[in-house]
Assembly symmetry: C2
Homo-oligomer: 453 residues x 2
């Protein structure tokens, strides 16, 4: 039998993060201070981020060393397995060879701890007592609480109200790791109280929760803010995924023809894809790179490409990115995460430069893919991850039609153990397929900041 | 850095199960037909088990080959990691070295799939269309549904009522793998309807659920029964855990001074411990072997040692074992599993022969151990597993007191992702410590079958 799971020895764990900024064909547009709308300086970030993180955020160095303490924390679950999905291939009866990088084996159940442990470490090192953050589906809040418990730093999580109510066990998980959690909008912040008054029936949004977490950090001297996606340093920390996958693919004798990840803010996609993008840019590899997203939040496939605020209250930095508008409120009917209005600016640049592509799917076809995966490969996927699986299965079926031996690699970003209520809804045919209307996206144009550089 | 996690290559996966029956210092007393109370013959088992399983149940051969199809299914998640709990050691400030075998990495989240895939395979091979089973906390029912999906065999699960209500996402998980599930006592079986009439307010018990599952199998020609613990063949299938651990410990340069597992029916304990018991018996290793159980279900530490029925309705085989009586109904206040009235007869023999020892703990001290583990090593343990962690921490603290370099190995049998409501109760100080009263155990004497061999 061939090895089904390729597992690297600890000695082959990557000890550097890869910074895709070094290889972008065009420079990133500067991130702006939300008050002045002028390029942000490191000083603008200092009230909410430790300096080590700010330096990574603005760095264009290609490799950045991973501190020993972070390596040690990562080694609790890394290197993660690269798995040949041979049972799925057989079920699909495809000539394609499907591999997935299994990031669900982390204690928090997703790729999110990769950056959480780095951010907890740098904040502890900078003398912080506490970190505040937002979470949507809950993967990120859990991951940061887990990381906080490892480095002895307190964690406060603002969780989007509808998810807080739909996923009560995320709260229990966060408590188990010693974190504290509030349903957002909360009464803990000024902006939260304002949202509650203005929109008493809101489901909450990531944009609102970010506003609360940023305010919490900005108004407490012992507290910093931590973000789970979008920004350069987050994507950077995630590249251990792709660096490992490169080494693991080499051991299989295959090289991916297509690399796939789902995108919300973009961090799991970036983590797997960026090292392969480096190979594509530097070594002219022909690999296709595919980001998959929900039709209900079609940031890459239908969003505007413009400067926008990272949060609803316009206190977070202004970023040049694909956006649905910072007032975007996704429909409550959508079961998964991936509901952020913006997108990592590095991904937007790569997409704009046609180095990568994007596709959008409906949630029912994604759950169908997830169930197929669970019944063949065993693991129950997170609803977010199901978008990557849908992409991989579509590629495998296309390869079958064209009788091609396509090699497919996707990021299995997380398990669905805390999302089982969405599976219930899927089986009860209670999930609606919804496409976010183009008119609403066009209407968001008027809310964009007027930038004049 | 030393390797934190020892992972075997697939080539070193054990390809044989170890049967401890071959090395027992005294023979097992025969299992009896529940009607005649005379030694059961293979024919007695044939209506509910495939012949391959029956042969394993009565075998005294020391090694039994694992079929290729089962090896292939196991390789979805095996070999599992052996992990040095270095952060826990540091937290406890102990000279002990603590290792755990991480069985929570299986798709169903526990050790249970080890036997589930074997039983699903043998039943499929025997031409069965369906398997019925019971489940308590839900780990076993999930595992069998997962295994059924791999081998294309239908699975029906009878889940103890109180757990069915407390853990709704076990149902969703079982549905995701294509299984069907009923709250037990159910209206699906004659015995279930009888229980519902006689005890309308019952929380259900494993004993009742077993009665239902056995009736379902016995009354449907295309259906067999499958059990997740207690019986010899189940313990046999679990020994891949200990065989791997033996090979992994050899790579660390350490050998355990004490091997620990929690016990309900005994299968995860047996899986890890039996290969070490073989070394102890054959090679005179001085390893201590420790089974840990709840005070609320103290089968080994306080139970009778006698012939008893395996289920409440007295339709399952009669086994010579430690028992709290087949009418045992555990208190609803207990948060974890481990609530079976009996115990694997091989474990009972080893305990009676003083080859192993046992200890009982209260649930609050176990949750305390679980939270300590989650905050140091990351993974959130199943409430059952917390009993093994309590044992390991107590050993580590004792080693500290005695200034001993004790090597401790325990079975991390499963994660707690579907048990987070119990953590909530623990944090809310809503869990009662309860010791099952000795009088009740003595009173169960009158219900034991009158065996005259």
């Amino acid at each position: 039998m061939a090895e089904k799971r390729i597992i690297l020895p600890k000695s082959e764990m990557p000890d550097k993060w890869y910074n895709v900024v070094a290889d972008l064909p065009v420079p990133l547009k500067p991130t702006l201070n939300p008050q002045t709308l002028q390029p942000a300086t490191p000083d603008d970030f200092a009230p909410i981020f430790p300096m080590a993180v700010v330096e990574q955020e603005v760095s264009d160095k290609d490799f950045i060393e991973i501190p020993d303490e972070v390596m040690d924390a990562l080694s609790l679950w890394r290197p993660t397995p690269l798995v040949r999905a041979s049972r799925l291939e057989k079920y699909l009866d495809t000539p394609a060879r499907i591999y997935y990088k299994n990031e669900s084996v982390s204690p928090a159940g997703s790729h999110k701890p990769n950056t959480a442990v780095a951010q907890a470490f740098y904040n502890k090192q900078a003398g912080m007592k506490r970190i505040s953050t937002e979470t949507g589906a809950g993967q990120w809040g859990s991951a940061l609480s887990f990381a906080g418990s490892l480095f002895g730093i307190d964690v406060t999580v603002y969780m989007v109200r509808i998810s807080f109510e739909q996923k009560p066990y995320r709260k229990s998980m966060i408590h188990t790791w010693g974190g504290e959690i509030f349903s957002s909008p909360s009464d803990q912040t000024q902006i939260g109280r304002m949202f509650r008054e203005k929109y008493p029936d809101t489901n909450g949004t990531l944009g609102m929760a970010i506003s609360e977490a940023v305010e919490d950090a900005a108004t407490h001297g012992d507290t910093n803010y931590s973000i789970g996606s979008v920004l350069n340093h987050v994507c950077l920390h995630q590249t251990v995924v792709g660096e490992e996958a490169l080494r693991q693919m080499a051991k299989t004798g295959d090289y991916p023809d297509v690399v796939i990840g789902c995108v919300g803010g973009g961090s799991n996609f970036a983590g797997l894809a960026y090292p392969f993008i480096r190979e594509k840019i530097r070594d002219k590899k022909k690999t296709r790179i595919l980001a998959t997203e929900p039709f209900s939040c079609p940031t890459l496939t239908k969003g505007l490409y413009a400067y926008d605020y990272g949060d609803t209250a316009m206190v977070a930095p202004v970023v040049f990115m694909h956006t649905l508008g910072h007032t975007f409120e996704p429909p409550g009917i959508h079961a998964g995460g991936l509901r952020y209005h913006g997108m990592a600016p590095t991904i937007c640049t790569l997409f704009d430069q046609k180095i990568m592509e994007a596709a959008a799917y409906h949630q029912n076809e994604c759950f169908e893919a997830a169930v197929t995966f669970a019944r063949t490969e065993g693991i129950i996927p997170a609803p977010e991850t199901s978008h990557a699986i849908r992409g991989a299965i579509n590629e495998a079926l296309d390869a079958k039609k064209k009788k091609e031996e396509r090699v497919i690699l996707f990021n299995f970003s997380g398990h669905g153990h805390f999302d089982m209520a969405s599976y219930d809804k899927y089986f009860e045919k209670d999930l609606e397929d919804y496409e976010y209307p183009s008119e609403k996206i066009q209407a968001a144009l008027k809310d964009l900041p007027k930038v004049d550089l």
